[in-house]
């Protein structure tokens, strides 16, 4: 039965800066998502501030971008805001809707590129962007690994939208979420395929519509 003195000694030892503990590596900086249920499900309590986030969607229009609006509004309105890049978006961005969500439109950067990989990597390594969205249909694991390294360099997380068919492909992304339509048609369902340091499972979100 260890007494109080042993405990305090152990705590002292654990405080030592040279000591590295396995669990502390999993603690990472995050941004609150703006949805309480999602914050609870994500490791660290929010979207990670670095690394690849892969969202797999069966089709456009389920609310996969709506998910990011609270965070985008907060990021673009901060005093040291960088750009939020949309690389190779599938359609036109309808500016009034983004303004209605409270985004500062001058902080949105749209990059149209037939080959999004290079442009996405540039947005990540340059350090000029807070967050980078990219839509791509095909991606090799090798390319994704390279993008993962690029996110570390510029401290910019990348959100990649891929078709649901890519679920079975290997991916170095720290977070992989499949987005599905909510059966009640009030929101959307997030199915965690991979969540480093977190749990797998299903989260149902209600969006105000």
């Amino acid at each position: 039965m260890p007494d109080a003195a042993t405990h305090s000694q152990l705590d002292q030892l654990l405080q030592h800066p040279a000591l590295w503990r396995g669990r502390s590596a999993a603690v990472q900086e995050t941004w609150a998502t703006g949805f309480a249920a999602l914050d609870q499900a994500l490791p660290g309590g929010g979207w990670p501030r670095t690394g690849l986030i892969e969202l797999l969607i069966p089709c456009h229009g389920l609310g996969e971008l709506r998910l990011w609006m609270p965070l985008l509004a907060r990021l673009t309105q901060s005093a040291t805001a960088r750009w939020c890049a949309f690389v190779a978006p599938p359609f036109e961005l309808f500016a009034p809707a983004y303004a209605a969500f409270g985004l500062r439109l001058d902080k949105l950067l749209i990059v149209r590129a037939p080959q999004p990989l290079w442009a996405l990597e540039q947005t990540l390594v340059s350090g000029a962007c807070d967050l980078s969205f990219c839509w791509m249909t095909h991606a090799q694991p090798r390319d994704l690994r390279r993008l993962g390294l690029a996110t570390e360099q510029g401290r910019t997380p990348a959100v990649i939208f891929r078709p649901l068919g890519a679920e079975r492909e290997a991916s170095p992304a720290a977070l992989r979420i499949a987005i599905e339509a909510d059966p009640q048609a009030t929101g959307l369902r997030l199915r965690f395929i991979k969540s480093r340091g977190g749990k797998r499972g299903v989260v149902d979100l209600t969006l105000d519509r």
């Binding site: 229009g61 389920l62 309105q77 036109e92 309808f94 009034p96 001058d106 350090g127």
Partner: protein
């Protein structure tokens, strides 16, 4: 009288040709000026004050161009560019006058008379143009509205004597005090004792009097026309590939970087022109978001652009031209890396934008902005991305709730097929073969009678079988087709 003629000859340099023998003879006497006073000058000195000064031998002829009203400095600089047609020595006299030194141009323009004619033709808007051997005298003449010409410096005192003191633009209180003393003309001021004048009105005004009548030299700051960089190279052999072109323009870029560094300037436009033997020259135009001055950055961007160019023939000559030089405002570097502890990225943004645009084209990278318009197509427009953080662009929230407008808009409305329901004998819009269910609507958006692009539509929010929410509309007018216009994403 004899003296007068000699001095007249001395200063009145023959109007044509600086190379005439008399001038060359006279020049040594004129050049080592002030202390050794040629006796002939003392006799003709106009000023009666006990002057330790002499008339500085001047071989200049200044023209003052007086403009009708005060001009802004840029406008004056534009006029100065015009003045550079006549002489390289142009000086600005803000806010409303220009000075041109014309002695060296007399020969080229065929004498004083024809030069004056050309000047008047060039400066039609000028109130008066006066010529005199000193800049201040020319200005005083022009400002008192006298379009005359004094060529002989020794006559300055007598010719200027009648002009009012106001033409000198001295401070108002000095002019008021002088006029209360009964001194109202330049001649009267010149007759005042020097020591007393300096004590009462300060040495600056005495100095300006001295410069007026050429008792003291009056160097002027020359106007310099805005510079641009222009250089070319002709390689020994014809270049066929992009790599060769980049190698041969590398020294040009290094020179350009030196040129810019010496002037502490940057450029935001750079043109590379590649000349071929039989084809029209290939142009490669670089537009940057921010003034840039580093050779490495230019090379990087030009290389990215050259990769997209197809050279129709081998390159014989490379020309590099810069746009206007801009002050290169060095942005302060951040203590933190971008994104670290909330660090901004103002320094990284312009270079990043340039890099993207050099490779993808300037149209491919843009921002968006809202335009107040009721037609969806017209209310969202591409804009130039902002590289600086401004406080003015606060989000302006439209009057309707966020959930009623889609985040995606289709570039063109896409017509939806109809599905016929046999039981109810009605037709429903469908998307990808599945029937759409309408969730809300209709919301009518119409008219535009003032231009050709009028619309008449009933908008609905619909849900397809996969759960996607779509923004669709039905034309009000027959044939009442259904269209998909946006996606709630």
């Amino acid at each position: 009288m004899k003296h007068r003629q000699q001095t007249g000859f001395l200063f009145d340099a023959p109007v044509h040709g600086a190379g005439e023998p008399q001038l060359v003879e006279v020049a040594p006497a004129a050049a080592p000026a002030p202390r050794a006073v040629p006796p002939l000058l003392q006799t003709t000195a106009v000023v009666a004050t006990a002057a330790p000064t002499v008339v500085v031998p001047t071989r200049e002829l200044w023209a003052a161009v007086q403009l009708p009203r005060e001009a802004a400095l840029p406008a004056l600089q534009t006029l100065a560019l015009r003045a550079l047609l006549f002489t390289p020595r142009v000086s600005l006299e803000p806010p409303d006058a220009l000075l041109l030194e014309l002695r060296g141009s007399l020969g080229l323009f065929g004498g004083l008379k024809s030069l004056l004619g050309d000047l008047q033709a060039q400066f039609v808007m000028a109130q008066s143009i006066a010529l005199a051997p000193t800049p201040l005298a020319a200005l005083a003449l022009a400002r008192s509205g006298k379009s005359c010409c004094i060529v002989d410096a020794t006559q300055l005192g007598s010719r200027l004597a009648a002009l009012p003191l106001q033409s000198l633009r001295w401070p108002d209180d000095a002019i008021a005090r002088l006029s209360s003393m009964g001194v109202r003309t330049i001649g009267a001021a010149l007759r005042l004792p020097r020591a007393g004048f300096a004590r009462r009105f300060g040495p600056a005004l005495l100095d300006s009097l001295d410069r007026l009548v050429a008792r003291r030299s009056d160097p002027r700051l020359a106007f310099r026309a805005p510079e641009r960089f222009r250089m070319h190279c002709e390689p020994d052999f014809e270049l066929t590939g992009q790599a060769g072109v980049m190698r041969s323009i590398a020294p040009l870029l290094a020179t350009l970087a030196d040129f810019l560094r010496e002037r502490q300037c940057g450029i935001s436009v750079l043109l590379l022109r590649l000349v071929h033997r039989d084809h029209a020259a290939t142009r490669c135009l670089l537009r940057l978001a921010h003034p840039e001055s580093a050779a490495q950055q230019f090379a990087l961007l030009l290389e990215a652009q050259l990769q997209h160019l197809v050279l129709p023939a081998p390159v014989r000559r490379c020309e590099l031209r810069s746009g206007p030089l801009l002050a290169d405002a060095q942005l302060s570097a951040a203590l933190w890396k971008p994104g670290e502890h909330g660090g901004g990225a103002t320094a990284q943004m312009p270079a990043f934008l340039d890099r993207l645009r050099a490779r993808l084209g300037s149209q491919a990278v843009h921002g968006i902005c809202v335009k107040p318009a009721h037609r969806p197509e017209a209310s969202s427009l591409p804009s130039e991305p902002a590289t600086t953080h401004s406080v003015r662009h606060l989000p302006q929230c439209p009057p309707w709730a966020a959930a009623r407008r889609p985040l995606w808009l289709l570039p063109e409305p896409q017509q939806l097929a109809l599905l016929h329901d046999n039981r109810s004998a009605r037709a429903y819009p469908s998307h990808q073969g599945e029937r759409l269910t309408l969730q809300s609507g209709p919301e009518r958006l119409e008219t535009g009678w003032w231009d050709e692009a009028g619309i008449e539509r009933d908008y609905y929010i619909a849900r397809d079988a996969g759960g996607a929410r779509l923004w669709i509309f039905r034309q009000i007018e027959p044939p009442r087709h259904w269209f998909l216009h946006g996606i709630f994403c």
